[in-house]
Structure formats: structure tokens, C-alpha cells
Symmetry: C2
Subunit: 162 residues, 2 copies
């Protein structure tokens, strides 16, 4: 049995206790952008309930064209007005660099990825970089309540990056 | 007080019950790609615990260059081998089309987005499209256990797309 099959068995219990459906637009009018890291249970960290907030996640919790697309849809079509960015300590993105990672992939596959890996050397600096990319975007409507945090994987605490 | 401030107050309770730190690589060696929709609490839907799985999310749960980047990092650097794709019923991506959305944005800002909105007209077809984009990628290593599902927002059930 694959891990996927085991997780699908868990879904049976979820269905039994399910009390939907809820409305499509996020009730709290907020979008969260967080790292994909397995230790970041965003709903638990922020005390979110189902239906409260859009949750956007990728390697690093960085802002690339796809997060700008998602945030634009979130604000223009579904009514969110605040953005919470979450990076974290002990991030995998601190463990490699773009050139080295792509050289390894090219050695393995014969092709170099056309994307930037978005690896970074300082987590707080990258939170500021992500906020800056949002501020510079011409399509996101609400930029006055964009705040960035570093989640401490040792304590569970969100520390704000100023 | 902003919603962000209210959610940060919730984080205090999370810290009090926190029992970390956990290892960086996902314990279950699986990556989930899901829509950002507020009703999709991925940890609850799949019975995931903190530390189990990478969670990647965007508008639609579609596969674009950024998800291919995240999945490549997930598999090549952090040991995941299975991929679970989750779209859902009543998705916002079914409510508009690319041309119309961009025309509205251009009318408002004077600029047309350089990205595709990734709006779709049939959720199952788009799950297959996302699986196809993963299968076609030259950098993702493990493609034999990629499965796609539609989450029913009325029942909480994951229905597999074959």
C-alpha cells in the first residue's frame, strides 16, 4: 500500500465528521503565502478554520509569477485584502545555491532548468524580498496590510520581520 | 485590529502546545499540490501530522513552472517520491476566463498580465492536465506514483480522477 492509499483512508474519517459546505470567498479576507515545509501546518499555526483564508505555498514561501497570479485572483475575484507571508527557520532553501543545484540537474538530465531555484542565504532578507515583489506588482490591489514572518520550527512561534 | 493581528493572537496558543522541532525532510515522503481555496484544510483532509508532507498550493492547484520548481526541490533535495494533486468542486477558477479577466485588469491598470490565469472549465480535465504537465517535466524524478483527486466541498470526500 502506498502512502497515498494510507492518507486516503484518513479521508474517510474526515468525511464522517465533515460539516460543509461553506462559501467560496475566504471569510477572513486574508491570503497566506507560506513555505511548503512539512512542519508548517498553517491552519494550526494561525488558528484558521476551514473557509477562513486562502493558503498559497511553495518551496521557500517565495513570491514568483505564480504567487502574483494567485494573489491577484485572490484579491480581485475573491475579496481578500490582507497578505501574511511565512518563511521559517531551518529551511531547505538555505542548504543549496542556484548554480550548484542546476549544475547537478544538468549533469543528471542533460538539461538546465529554465526557472530560478529561489534558494536564499538569509531567511529574513528573503521575507523582505517577497514583500518587495508584492509591493512592486501592478496587479495586486491591496498592499497596505502585507506583513512577513519567520516561523520558528523549534518553538512554533511566528516572529515578525520588520 | 487587523485580521492578521487576530491570527497572531491565535499563534500564542499554538506555541503553548507546541512539541517541536521535527526533522526537515517530510516523514511520509509525499508532496501534495492543492488549490489555495480556504475550505481545503489539507492536513485535516488527509490526516497529515506536522512533518509528514510537503504542501504546495496556488489558485486552482494547477501545475505551472513554480510548482515544477517546488516538486523538483521536494524530490531531488528532500526525498519525496509520491505526488497527490487536489482540485475541488465549486472552484473559483471555473467562474471566469483568461481573456475576460485580463481585459478587466488591463482596463483597470493599463497593463495586461504576462501570466496565464490558468482558469479552467472542467475540474477533472484540469486535474489530468496537471498530471500531464508533471509527466512531461524533465526534472521531476519520481512519476510512477502521481495521483489526482477532486475534493468535494459539500461532503469532504476526495474522489480520484482516473
Amino acid at each position: 500500500m502506498s502512502v497515498t492509499d494510507e492518507l486516503l483512508a484518513n479521508n474517510v474519517a474526515y468525511v464522517e465528521s465533515f460539516t460543509g459546505p461553506l462559501p467560496l470567498p475566504p471569510a477572513r479576507h486574508v491570503a497566506v503565502v507560506a513555505c511548503m515545509d512539512a512542519r508548517l501546518n498553517v491552519y494550526a499555526i494561525l488558528g484558521l478554520a476551514e473557509g477562513d483564508a486562502h493558503v498559497i505555498r511553495n518551496a521557500g514561501g517565495v513570491i514568483t509569477a505564480d504567487e502574483l497570479r494567485s494573489l491577484t485572483i485572490s484579491q480581485r475575484l475573491l475579496g481578500t485584502e490582507e497578505i501574511i507571508l511565512i518563511h521559517h527557520t531551518d529551511c531547505g532553501m538555505l542548504t543549496f545555491d542556484d548554480d550548484g543545484f542546476k549544475a547537478d540537474i544538468a549533469a543528471d538530465t542533460g538539461l538546465k532548468p529554465g526557472w530560478a531555484s529561489e534558494a536564499f542565504t538569509d531567511v529574513e532578507t528573503d521575507v523582505r524580498q517577497s514583500i518587495g515583489r508584492i509591493k512592486a506588482d501592478p496587479f495586486i490591489v491591496h498592499k497596505d496590510r502585507v506583513r512577513g514572518f519567520v516561523f520558528d520550527v523549534a518553538t512554533g512561534k511566528l516572529n515578525e520581520v520588520v
